[in-house]
Symmetry: C2
Subunit: 363 residues, 2 copies
Amino acid sequence: MEETLMSNDTSKGPEDLTVMSREPLIAGTPLGSMKDLETPAANFFVRNHFPIPRLESSGWSLKVTGEVERPFSLGLDALKEMPRREVLVLMECAGNSRGSVQPPIEGLLWDNGAVGTARWTGVPLRSVLEYAGLLDSAVEVLLEGADRGNQQGTTGEMGYSMSLPMDKALHPDTLLAYDMNGESLSPEHGYPLRAVVPGWFGMTAVKWLTGIQVLSQPFWGFHQNDYYVYVGEGYDNGSPKERVTYLQVKSLVTWPGRGRILTTGRHEIRGMAWSGQGPVTKVEVSTDNGRTWQPANLEDSESPYAWRQWTSCWDVSQPGYFLIRARATDQMGKVQPVQAQWNYRGFANNSIHAVPVEVRASG
Amino acid sequence: MEETLMSNDTSKGPEDLTVMSREPLIAGTPLGSMKDLETPAANFFVRNHFPIPRLESSGWSLKVTGEVERPFSLGLDALKEMPRREVLVLMECAGNSRGSVQPPIEGLLWDNGAVGTARWTGVPLRSVLEYAGLLDSAVEVLLEGADRGNQQGTTGEMGYSMSLPMDKALHPDTLLAYDMNGESLSPEHGYPLRAVVPGWFGMTAVKWLTGIQVLSQPFWGFHQNDYYVYVGEGYDNGSPKERVTYLQVKSLVTWPGRGRILTTGRHEIRGMAWSGQGPVTKVEVSTDNGRTWQPANLEDSESPYAWRQWTSCWDVSQPGYFLIRARATDQMGKVQPVQAQWNYRGFANNSIHAVPVEVRASG
């Protein structure tokens, strides 16, 4: 979508992103610029719910409260003195690719640009929780951001918060991150501190973190229980809803782009693939309406949480109109579906990506 | 799409349109403002291929050439002295609704806003051709616009031209129009003269007309034979292609909008319906996943070429998530399909429109 929808308008931001909304800021990465394992911060998608809170490190502190033995708060310098951990983690908005869900869904029609991979450095959430001392009554850990605002369909102002179950909160790779690709977080990406929850969709990677609250009851907040949930057609909205959590197995064709005109001959097809439930083990490419599938070359990745780059060689002798399709399989044996199951907000769409191209006779 | 994609950005034009491209200007009508039989000019979609040529009536003339007995050219005043004809005609871009074609197609991902109905006043093309005197060698009539520019995938500059077969050119309702809803055409809509071809998609309604050329051979121009054509996956682009011509039977839900939150109780559902091959005779609405369909009330239309407004009453007692679907049938018995047949540029998508809404308990 980004290749044409925005190609002639004025909505390009100062960074290399396709801006879909300015307040709150929502912007995606053009597919063609997904070339590297690490996505530069200036090119990393942004999905905010409320205006960006402009926090200063001097006045900022993280408050750890709730079902702990020693509630405390600490500043950024103190946090940086704790043992640090660095993890390469892909982040994807739960709404990524929902622009292609049919019938169209409620909400912003994201193309495929709401995904990126960065090297995050910070303190494991576990370390902070251990320092505070968890009580036996602890059942969830609430991550509280400083961003606040009005949410369509609700009254009054609210903040942005998400909870993690204890096993996810205590996983050593779940981070409170202050650096992204070796530099301090920018305001867009959550300065001074954000959560990074490997393998889950981005909605739990709370930005502008100011509070960690250990809960004795499951959290019941708007974004968690009313917004980032799977509900189908005819679903009673008074019933409990399934929460969006793990990333689905997925691949994108990043080259050639939609509508690209090629000539007969050999072409490299490139893309990215990932999954939240184990690394991608196979990517296949089809250029003949899904009749046959060729295995692509998969690059190694140093991290099980990152995407893997893939390439495939296409030798096309016949001019005409083609769809290039890519299909990933993960370690669990999960494969991308032809069509995603419809849900009201179109979350977690991982249906097979297909890119139309025209091939002309060369020479 | 228009309801959210553009809601927070700066791309609203001076008129009440959702701007998708500024150069060439491409802009659509928000669904919610499709309320009246006549669409005001300021609210009428614009689909240009090249920059708008700024023509002055003083220097302008229409040249009629080719297979005619008496080639001639005439100015705007002379044209306005010829017997005038007024017709209420719906115009729809062939690419309208292609944003919901799956897999995504080549080109701008239009939502549903590229359609409108206006009262066009002008001279029947037939009158001009009769005045010139058609030779027996005439096989097509070429409409030549003054707009020029570069087209992706081609080299050099080109103009925008489209031809009509003789029966369409000689139909008394095919107009050379100078007025739209009782006022002179604006520059965006083709000042001083444009074609209006009832029942066909908008690409033949050439704007900024400066030439009428009667041809002894079928026209072979880029837009007609390479662009506005139906080609499927695997189609050899050296082969002849089927041209896009007639409008398909279609209906849109204009109220409520996508993602609207309603309360239990009675609601009016509203929309528009049309067809290019005879008037719409029936519109049905489903709110239960297409299991049952209720006939909607169809308003009369004074013109067979206009859309018809329809309304339906929805009494919803159960809170939850619903898709509102509308399905039209025309005089020929043609019905909208659940899914349109895929073609490379997604032309003529008339699949059933489905709008997701949330219903909450009232009170």
